[in-house]
């Protein structure tokens, strides 16, 4: 029946229908099989993959930053600790009217305008479920006032975290350094994936040098979150391993005295234990308050520090390079005695001037009328320049260079802090390389009194003096004393590392020079006799006054007439007690007029304080025993 039938044919209709239904069912079966295979693929074959995706959806791994190791001085006084700090945090998805909430917060505690600006910046960037800090470092009164009102402020909370705090403030700021928020560059390098955006990292000084020791290992908190990113429950917590605490070789009391006595002067003090290389004090003034840096320093504050002409951020103890002036003389004395240029009995006449044979240039003594007949003791006691002009010329620059190098001059000190400078130990080789000119005999002459090309850092000087005090034994200077493990509460001492031993053919020379240096203070004609009054210990010292301008140096007692920036630098080195020294000190005071005037009292007080602290009885040393040495 190919033509259209005028009548309905039920049987034919039924046949057509059944055939079509079979076709439809066949297609349906294919579709159902496709669906089934799809489900099979998703739910069984790819199950592990999607299971991981589901886990990644709900599990967030959050770091727990480890508490940083605490810094103590050698006696356990806290130098750097972690204190709780509170910040006001706003959870935006709990707040209907953000502006209204802010107004209400401001009616309870004042909010700084720049914090408000930062808050709005963060609001624009962060996803809505992320809490945004409104005000950092809340004061305790603010915390109290907010805590009372918190139930009226839904979506506002106070978050506590640990903040680095330096209780001594500017005292020792250069030495300790500070921590600050990690920079994006440091975060990108991120060694060992220990750091996150909220980490603090040591930015300077000890905090920077011992970052690995102090930081610890962060913990992990695995939390389950819902689709809004809100915490549902904590799945797993792995506590952080706190950083090691460290005892520094520093004596906080000496450090404080150094800062106090340097006062308004720019300068540096370094005190060292000659038998270990441990730095007992390392001060640089003017200083700054490291606590300002901890939460990220404000730009205006930083600019004020960096624009200051006295450079408070500059660590003079490590990086300040100064002419040693007369403080180089004891080293030269050792050199001439060791090289048999003179004996202790050799005398030279000092007319107040010195002229190199065959030349006309006149080199002046600091005392225009001269010192007359001078032996080595007198030369050191009264700091006779002419004597040392002769010594320098007789010894020659090469032997000076060779003898002084083992004391650490002209080399970067191997201290466990970054940034130490090398200074300059003048030599023809150095001059050719850096100044591009030949060495003249005249250069040798002024090198003999620590002027000319000479440059030393306070640290170098302290270490060198310590080497005389320890009779040729030089130790690697360091500020780490012991490491305290916070987990097992054990303290592991850090052993001293010998750096170099200078051996003299006649070891007695060490004592001779020490005794001559003692005379600088003890002898009524000594340049540092001013600090002898009431001095309880036998100390060895040497003054130095480094010329800044070509002013007449004879009337230094009228120094107050000279503008401060043109006054000479004052240097003083000392160690004590004789005969068994425990401490060596180098003091540099910029524009301090004269070593005896400003630098020596600082050294005296530091040494005395330290020796008293150590319980060393005063007037201990027998004078005669040294005289017997002298007789040999």
């Amino acid at each position: 029946m190919t033509e259209a039938a005028p009548l309905k044919n039920p049987i034919q209709e039924y046949r057509i229908f059944r055939r079509r239904i079979l076709v439809a069912v066949a297609i349906g079966v294919i579709l159902v099989l496709t669906l089934t295979f799809r489900l099979l693929d998703l739910q069984i074959l790819q199950h592990p993959y999607y299971d991981t995706l589901a886990l990644g959806n709900r599990i967030r791994t959050l770091p727990i930053n480890p508490p940083r190791g605490i810094l103590y001085d050698r006696h356990g006084i806290v130098l750097a600790e972690n204190v709780p700090s509170y910040e006001l945090v706003v959870h935006r998805d709990d707040i209907r009217n953000l502006k209204d909430t802010l107004h209400r917060i401001e009616s309870i505690v004042p909010i700084r305008r720049q914090d408000l600006r930062l808050f709005w910046q963060l609001v624009r960037v962060e996803p809505p479920y992320e809490p945004v800090p409104l005000q950092r470092d809340l004061s305790t009164t603010s915390v109290a006032r907010l805590a009372v009102n918190l139930n009226h402020l839904p979506g506002v909370s106070i978050r506590a975290h640990l903040k680095r705090f330096y209780p001594l403030g500017p005292i020792g700021a250069h030495l300790l350094g500070y921590v600050g928020p990690i920079h994006s560059g440091e975060l990108r390098r991120n060694p060992g994936h220990l750091y996150n955006a909220e980490s603090d990292v040591g930015q300077d000084g000890f905090e920077q040098s011992y970052e690995n020791l102090l930081y610890g290992i962060p913990g992990i908190r695995e939390v389950e979150v819902n689709v809004q990113g809100r915490l549902v429950r904590v799945v797993h917590t792995q506590p952080p391993v706190p950083g090691d605490s460290v005892y520094l070789t520093i004596d906080a009391r000496l450090q404080a005295i150094a800062h106090e006595m340097l006062g308004q002067n720019a300068g540096a003090v370094v005190a060292v234990d000659p038998h270990t290389g441990g730095i007992l004090a390392m001060a640089s003034t003017p200083s700054f308050n490291p606590n300002r840096f901890v939460n990220g320093i404000r730009e205006a504050t930083y600019r004020k520090l960096s624009d200051n002409l006295l450079q408070p951020l500059f660590n003079r103890a490590l990086q300040g390079e100064y002419a040693p002036a007369s403080t180089i003389k004891p080293f030269l004395a050792l050199a001439v005695l060791d090289d048999h240029v003179i004996t202790t009995r050799t005398t030279i006449f000092c007319p107040g001037t010195f002229v190199l044979p065959g030349t006309t240039h006149v080199y002046h003594d600091w005392q225009p009328w001269g010192h007359g007949i001078t032996n080595l003791r007198k030369a050191l006691t009264q700091s006779v320049d002419v004597f040392f002009y002769h010594m320098a010329v007789d010894l020659g620059i090469h032997r000076i260079d060779a003898f002084l190098r083992p004391f650490g001059f002209g080399q970067k000190p191997d201290i466990d802090l970054a940034g130490a400078r090398a200074g300059v130990l003048p030599s023809p080789g150095w001059k050719l390389k850096h100044m591009g000119g030949p060495w003249y005999e005249g250069d040798t002459v002024i090198s003999g009194i620590g002027q000319g090309y000479w440059l030393v850092t306070p640290l170098q000087m302290a270490v060198a003096v310590g080497t005389i005090a320890a009779r040729g034994h030089r130790y690697r200077p360091r500020v780490i004393h012991a490491i305290a493990n916070p987990t097992n509460h054990r303290v592991y001492p850090v052993l001293p590392e010998p750096a170099r031993t200078i051996r003299l053919d006649r070891p007695g020379l060490w004592r001779i020079v020490a005794r001559d240096m003692e005379s600088v203070i003890k002898n009524p004609t000594g340049t540092a006799h001013g600090i002898d009054y009431g001095l309880k210990y036998a100390l060895a010292g040497k003054t130095g006054t480094a010329q800044i301008s070509n002013r007449d140096r004879s009337d230094f007692m009228n120094y107050h007439l000279i503008p401060k920036s043109e006054r000479d630098n004052a240097v003083f080195i000392a160690f004590g007690p004789i005969p068994h020294p425990e401490i060596a000190v180098a003091v540099f005071v910029q524009h301090g007029v004269a070593g005896a005037l400003t630098a020596a009292p600082i050294a005296r007080r530091i040494i005395e304080t330290y020796l008293e602290e150590r319980g060393i009885p005063p007037h201990q040393y027998p004078y005669r025993s040294l005289d017997r040495d002298r007789g040999s």
């Binding site: 259209a4 057509i16 496709t34 998703l42």
Partner: protein, 376 residues
Amino acid sequence: MNDSSAYIRHTPNLNPSLLSRLHIDGPLLLELVLLSAMGLIALFGADHGELELVVRQLIRILLGFAVLVAVAQLPPAYYRLAAPWLYLAALILLIVVLAFGQRSLGAQRWLDLGFVRLQPTELMLLALPLMLTRHLSNHTLPPDWRTVATSLLLIAMPLALILKEPDLGSALLIGVIGIFCLFVSGLNWRYLAIGAVILCAAAPIAWHFMHQYQKERILIFLNPERDPLGAGYHIIQSQIALGSGGLFGQGLLHGSQTQLDFLPESTTDFIFAVIGEQFGFLGALALVMIFLLVIQRTLRSAIRMPDHFGRLWAASMAFITFLYVVVNIGMVSGLLPVVGEPLPLVSFGGSSVVTLMAGFGVVMGLEHHQSTSWNT
């Protein structure tokens, strides 16, 4: 004749049971109850163990079964008589919804009647096949070109209105159902082929007239990672939910995708993913099986119907159910674009439960009434 045996097989039941007296097909009813029950459990799991939605859905389901039983009591002649009026009513409602409907998510689909939010599209989904069934069975089969043309007109009117809403997914469903009615009525293969060619040619033009969000949906379907936090989010999250279910599932009220709200629309369009996550491949397969049983039972009724009206209607019901299942599961498992069609009787939602139940009521009524063919 072997083919006609089914046609004359029907013999009066001399000792009718209660179900039989109520013109209810027992096995089909049982399967529908089972399906609804699974839906309620899934809803319970999707809504974090809250009972509120479950109770509301239960009320709708009970209402649906009441409607089913009520509709089954009507003599078949009523369905025929009701068909044009129902179709007309649905058409008018579609126009009303375009004029006054609630705008949600950029499309006008809902009509708020105070006590219930009516979606005329759902009504048309049954009204159109009923109308076509009447129209086709009134003429000789296979349909001649005149009948085909009038049928196409009947399909085109609601199609255009739904496209205007705009609701591309439902429009496609309406179109496919209409074509299916013509197909099982014996539409010439040649017409089908011509239609397919025209459709392919029209596709680029249709693309041009599509709304941006419709284009976006299709593009997202082709590559969900195109916008993983935006439009592709639904597909990705539902696949994760299904995939993390594994063979046995995470268990009722377990499974992070649902419980922590990573899965969007978990109580409505994406409820199949909830079943997949909580009851695994086996649970999902069981649900599909029950759906297939419903379809099988409905097709069985279709074969046993005494006339083409009954046959065509039962086949339409089976096809509508099948289409919903395939489109929904295809969407949830990422095989089809997100068209926003619910899983019948399982997804939370009012009007679709009642209309579908009414449709099955008609199937039962047609099969169990001792009706004679009206057109012979």
